[in-house]
């Protein structure tokens, strides 16, 4: 007897085409007509991009450490922030500033972090959100743990985590899917597939048709969306978060986008990827697309764009100034490295702290 015991599929959703027109052949979500909301999101996209440019510039002029650009990921990232509630929990990887800005993290705090100052992690966003997470994919399990905590306490809160196409190969992500399945957790796992993991292309991560299908391992609903289409991204995020909040368990979304920048400022992508690919990707990028749509719908204009750009520049400059002021005029002392190790300093660290105070300027700033 051969009998099909389980069947699955992965659907791909796109509502807004690269040219800024809606797809014709099907219903688009109501969201597509909520111009006020879309304009708000658009503004944050532009701010995020302005910020990103500034951050790279600060790095190039020696005022910031290694920085991971979010260029091209704006729709994906901001949709995540926009779909969440304050009390939900975000467990980012490292470049989802758009999501974090939406949740209240300040631009100067992002700069502090990449500027080598831990205070950037004590941010103005929700106090229960996780900090940036360098060990790839580990954040997915922290989100699963948060989701478990909410579920055990009967709270209607959802945990959301992001992983890259590269990170989706890691056991942590795969175990998070399994945890989400085993415990039916209020957990949304987003794969932001930007086609590259530093120099390693998507195809080398595995030969499966999609990354979304990793969710099938846990029997989770798993979909793919155009990650440069704000409408599709936000629609998918809301669908997933609503389901999770309603107790229906975890959800996997793969957002198809592209890393338009180098991996970080320490990377030179020209070493490993063809320029044509990047140029092609620029045709599909999310900001231009939403702008075209909004202008088309009469919800946006070039005049407002010009104003917005000016404002964004101003805010970003303010953030940069704030950051520089903090790290230069109010730097952390040598003792800061001891003071947050434990709630109460153990005797051995007390001794080391006292010793370190004898060498306050030691080593200095490189």
């Amino acid at each position: 007897m051969a009998q099909t015991v389980a069947a699955f599929k992965v659907d791909y959703f796109q509502f807004l085409k690269p040219d800024g027109k809606l797809v014709e052949d099907q219903q688009v979500p109501a969201l597509a007509r909520d111009y006020d909301r879309l304009v708000e999101l658009y503004k944050l996209m532009v701010l995020t991009r302005t910020f990103d440019k500034k951050a790279v510039a600060l790095q190039r002029t020696g005022k910031l450490g290694t920085y991971a650009s979010c260029l091209g990921h704006e729709a994906a990232h901001i949709s995540i922030g926009a779909a969440m509630r304050e009390e939900d929990c975000f467990a980012p990887m490292y470049r989802e500033y758009g999501a974090q800005f939406y949740r209240g993290v300040k631009m100067s705090e992002v700069l502090m972090y990449w500027g080598g100052d831990e205070r950037g992690n004590d941010f103005s966003g929700p106090k229960h959100d996780f900090a940036w997470c360098v060990p790839i994919a580990t954040q997915c399990l922290h989100a699963a743990g948060a989701a478990l905590a909410y579920k055990l306490r009967g709270e209607e809160r959802v945990a959301v985590s992001v992983v890259g196409d590269g990170g989706s190969s890691k056991g942590d992500f795969l175990e998070a899917i399994n945890a989400g399945s085993a415990w039916k957790l209020p957990l949304v796992l987003v794969i932001v597939n930007n086609q590259w993991a530093i120099s390693v292309p998507r195809d080398k991560q595995n030969t499966a048709a999609t990354l979304a299908q990793k969710g099938i391992a846990g029997g989770l609903p798993s979909i793919q969306v155009d990650g440069n289409d704000m409408i599709a991204c936000l629609w998918a995020m809301e669908k997933a978060i609503n389901a999770a909040r309603a107790g229906k368990g975890a959800f996997v979304i793969e957002m198809m986008t592209y890393r338009l920048s180098d991996h970080t400022t320490a990377d030179d992508a020209r070493r490993y990827r063809p320029n044509e690919e990047v140029e092609e990707a620029w045709e599909k990028e999310p900001v231009k697309r939403l702008k075209a749509y909004l202008i088309d719908q009469g919800a946006w204009s070039e005049e407002r764009e010009a104003e917005l750009l000016e404002e964004c520049s101003k805010w970003v400059q303010q953030a940069a100034d704030e950051y520089i002021d903090q790290v230069e005029n109010n730097p952390q002392g040598v003792t800061a490295m001891f003071d947050y190790m434990f709630a109460e300093l153990p005797h051995d660290l007390e001794e080391q702290r006292a010793y370190a105070e004898q060498f306050p300027e030691d080593g200095g700033h490189h």
């Binding site: 929990c89 467990a91 831990e118 205070r119 992690n121 004590d122 941010f123 106090k127 229960h128 996780f130 900090a131 060990p135 580990t138 997915c140 399990l141 922290h142 989100a143 699963a144 743990g145 948060a146 989701a147 478990l148 905590a149 909410y150 055990l152 306490r153 945990a159 056991g171 942590d172 175990e175 998070a176 399994n178 945890a179 085993a182 800061a336 490295m337 947050y340 190790m341 434990f342 709630a343 109460e344 153990p346 005797h347 051995d348 660290l349």
Partner: protein, 326 residues
């Protein structure tokens, strides 16, 4: 008042902590209905139910990672690794996150969790069931590392570990889980997480050890006493932070020290203690500091495992070496 074993002290502390704080949850493989492969969580599932005593999928990285996640969100998870060898996949989350969460966020998030597991050899178990990895955890900043060696210390130290606002690695010497019984009152009194315990006073020699090696060390002390040597025995109990003061104070009187550990010698905790003596304790030393340790080899399968571990005989041998020096 009940005479209880070390593992019963563990169970008693778990039950107490769960009773007094609803945010304490126990999770791990087989900790639920089965009550743990050593019965450390026996009865807890029946008493506290599915939401407080959680059987996890078989995935140590997941256990560690979700424990960290829960701990940052107001829970006090007590995770069990089934055996010492299976903590290795957990190290990433313990080292990179548990020990760093508070510092990373300048105190915004914290990680009040306990990872407890049976450790050490000598119970006839298969491979990977007999490691003593305390030195690995002790080298990682941001963690407390605690090893009880008696029923009352198991109870008091585990209570303190669970209540502690920071992550604690709690290693249970499984070989002596049922070695000795002791009267322990379930009074919720915790023990401090930063001091050594002097198990026996003496003037000629200081023996320092922890965990299951307390057994052989006390035997060696008995043998030495019968030869007229007055032996002080210190149970380190908390490996991080290490209470060197108690040890140095003892060596100040005895002038001689042998450190006994079950783990491999190279870069073990015994070396840290010896190094402390070579620094702050040097002027008190009348003889070389000897370490009697597991070999820098793999703990053999059970037929030869006792040959690997320090025996009373090896401890006495080392003691005689340092006592010979005049």
């Amino acid at each position: 008042m009940a005479q209880i074993t070390l593992i019963e002290g563990v169970t008693m502390a778990l039950a107490r902590a769960m009773e007094e704080d609803p945010s304490v949850v126990v999770l791990g493989e087989d900790v639920g209905v089965n009550g743990g492969v050593f019965r450390a969580t026996a009865g807890l599932h029946q008493r506290f139910g599915d939401n407080r005593v959680i059987d996890t999928p078989l995935a140590e990285v997941m256990i560690a990672g979700t424990t960290v996640g829960m701990a940052t969100q107001g829970m006090k998870p007590v995770a069990e690794a089934q055996f010492c060898g299976f903590t290795m996949p957990m190290i990433d989350h313990i080292m990179c996150h548990a020990g760093r969460m508070r510092n990373r966020t300048r105190g915004r998030l914290s990680c009040p969790m306990v990872l407890r597991f049976p450790s050490g050899g000598g119970i006839h178990a298969p491979e990977h069931h007999s490691e003593s990895p305390e030195a690995l955890f002790a080298h990682m900043p941001g963690l407390r590392v605690v090893i009880p060696s008696s029923p009352s210390r198991a109870y008091g130290l585990l209570l303190a570990a669970i209540r502690d606002p920071d992550p604690v690695i709690f290693m249970e010497p499984k070989r002596i889980y049922r070695w000795q019984k002791e009267e322990v009152v379930d009074d919720g009194e915790e023990l401090p997480l930063d001091v050594c315990y002097t198990l026996r006073d003496g003037n000629d020699l200081t023996l320092v050890t922890w965990g299951a090696m307390v057994k052989e060390t006390m035997q060696a002390a008995d043998q030495l006493e019968s030869q007229g040597v007055s032996v002080e025995v210190i149970d380190v109990a908390t490996i991080s932070p290490l209470d060197m003061d108690t040890i140095i104070e003892s060596v100040e009187r005895t002038g001689r020290c042998v450190i006994v550990q079950e783990a491999p010698k190279h870069c073990g905790v015994a070396s840290e203690i010896a190094a402390g003596l070579a620094d702050a304790g040097i002027w008190h030393l009348h003889a070389p500091v000897k370490r009697v340790c597991g070999y820098d080899a793999i703990m053999p399968l059970y037929r030869n495992e006792m040959k690997y571990m320090p025996s009373a005989k090896r401890i006495v041998h080392a003691a005689q070496q340092v006592l010979e020096v005049s």
